[in-house]
Amino acid sequence: MTQPLTVVVLVKHVPDAKEERVLAGDPPVVDRSSGILSELDEYAVEAALQLTEARDNAEDRVLALTMGPAGAAGALKRALQLGAHGGFHVLDDALAGSDAWVTARVLAAAVERIARHAGAPVDLVLTGMASTDGETSLVPGQLAERLGLAQVGLASSLALDDDAASLTATRDTETEVLEVVAELPAVVSVTDRINTPRYPNFKAIMAAKKKPVQTWSAADLGLDAEAVGFAGSLTEVLEAVPRPPRSAGRIVVDEGEGGIRLAEFLVAEKLV
């Protein structure tokens, strides 16, 4: 029997893209008081579940990690309902305004702390390809660098070798499909092509209520308040404005030459 595998999945709580986004605070940031698990992170959770289910080792662990305000517990809950075994929440008012640089720093500290907490090394960190709010896609690379681990970005397939010493992933670029191999432990971000995330069933919803969630402050992770949040960030949001309402557009009444007018429009806008 192979060693148990510990997979940490980064999950982010984001505003529901189906609803209107609201800016609040000074400096203004997107209001995250209500939201959902970032849909792109569901692919990472599913990938982790499929990897461990394929191994069929009852001691394997899929652990969800989030950093964010109290509402981020919702993202953890969803990950637990999907099948993660436990959750970790980095929760601290001092974290507000953290940019990708700080976020990666906090999450790296949390991953190391999880290894100590679980009494086992973290073998794999899975992330989505981007968050559906900030969309910087910067965190996975920085996290791998801080942890000193191999990084595979934008995997559209992922498999472990038999003894879970290495992984094989497919990367789709605009011009080619690459097959890459990396030794574990590693950080892998997955795309929305890697799988079809499941829907949690009622049994899993009930079971999730009993799964452990550990909450840590920045200090618990050995981080100073000055090193995180607005204070520790390298980038600063100077201004955030709501997206302007969509303009009314131009209405062309088809009087027999609608097709020609449409073609003219496309040519004028250099769309064809």
Partner: protein, 386 residues
């Protein structure tokens, strides 16, 4: 007093809502148009555990309860009543009688495959001359050499002819009881008939006004022989047993109808904001906004009615009248909302592929099936001592 959902119910409801919007809604019009049974959707619902919601885990269920099933039905029926009735009939009429009245052996034999959605069961009650008046039942089952020999016919049986239908629970006359006043009464029993039994036939599917993707057939039984142990529940108790199944089922149908009514509201709000006429969205006119406000009031009322009936049932209190009220108001809410929604949609409301047009065709049966509106009124009046 609280009608807010507990967290796990809310999470289940939200999850099924997402599934309905993302998986079912995009293909509903196609299945409806083709009158095709949605096997793929049923399989996915099975994986999600929806067919096992009210059953214990030891029988392959989710360990939930009947209210959880109702919440799922409401969310699915918003977008597709055919899929919702497939689930409703599969659980409440197909599997539930086996769970409620079956022996442990019958439960172990049938429930795991039914609870996983890999197999479906039908409930063969209605006959050409027997619906809510079960005394008119003509199908007979006679004991012969350790077997039941069944002859007769059934009408309007949901889920009875799909590729994954494995059995039908059939009510049949098994004897005559002598009443104290000298009159006689038919004794009715329920018998499990596997669909591969010789002499059993699911006849040609009906051409229905709505619920086109739901599977409905007349059934015929010609010397159908099944083992004596296929008796479901006590001999002669079939009538009482299916009445209790129908009482529960009314709550589930009320939940389904509530979903239909809410689906009409949602579609109407969207369209009223989107569609402009005389320079403004049509929703800016009170003729439209008041209509939609009234639709919302109907859906809300229907929901409270079925929540109440379900709460009573789960608490083990009498719920027959509340279930009848829920079925009555929810069925009417669905039909009334469908009529109003098609009006909001104007010409598009008359085009089959539009969801509100489908609700218009689908909702009529909610005033008829599982006890007509008149039967519900009869039950309520009886409870009032009238």
């Amino acid at each position: 007093m609280n009608t807010e959902l507990d967290e796990e119910y809310q999470d289940l409801s939200d999850t099924v809502r997402d599934f309905a919007d993302e998986v079912i809604a995009p293909v509903s019009a196609q299945y409806d148009e083709a009158h095709a049974f949605p096997y793929e959707i049923v399989a996915q619902m099975g994986e999600m555990g929806l067919f096992g919601l009210p059953f214990p885990e030891e029988y392959g269920g989710m360990g939930g309860d009947y209210f959880a099933l109702c919440l799922a039905l409401e969310q699915i029926a918003r977008v597709d009543q055919s899929v919702a009735i497939t689930l409703e009939a599969g659980v409440s009429l197909g599997a539930m009688p086996i769970y409620r009245f079956g022996t442990d052996e019958q439960r172990r034999q049938w429930l795991p495959q039914l609870a996983s959605g890999q197999a479906l069961a039908g409930f063969g009650l209605t006959e050409p001359e027997a619906g809510s008046d079960a005394g008119g039942t003509r199908t007979t089952a006679k004991r012969e050499d350790g077997q039941w020999v069944i002859n007769g016919a059934k009408e309007f049986i949901t889920n009875s002819g799909t590729d994954i239908t494995r059995l039908v629970n059939v009510t049949a006359v098994t004897g005559t009881a002598q009443l104290p006043d000298g009159r006689t009464r038919k004794e009715i029993s329920t018998i499990i008939v596997p669909t591969d039994t010789p002499g059993f036939r699911a006849e040609k599917a009906y051409s229905k006004v709505g619920w086109n993707a739901s599977d409905t057939h007349p059934l015929s039984f010609q010397d159908v022989r099944v083992p004596a142990e296929n008796l479901l529940g006590e001999e002669g108790r079939g009538y009482a047993n299916f009445l209790s199944i129908l009482d529960e089922g009314r709550i589930a149908i009320a939940a389904l109808a509530t979903g239909a009514a809410q689906g009409c509201v949602e579609e109407s709000i969207r369209y009223a904001k989107e569609r402009t006429s005389f320079g403004q969205p049509i929703g800016a006119n009170q003729a439209i906004s008041f209509k939609i406000a009234r639709m919302q009031a109907r859906a809300h009322t229907a929901r409270l009615a079925y929540y109440d009936a379900a709460a009573r049932m789960l608490a083990g209190r009498p719920f027959k009248t509340q279930a009848a009220i829920a079925k009555l108001v929810a069925g009417e809410a669905a039909m009334d909302n469908a009529r109003d929604a098609t009006q909001v949609f104007g010409g598009y409301g008359f085009i089959n592929e539009f969801r509100v047009a489908r609700h218009y065709r689908d909702s009529k049966i909610l005033e008829v099936g599982e006890g007509t509106t008149e039967v519900q009124l009869m039950l309520i009046a009886r409870d009032l001592g009238l």
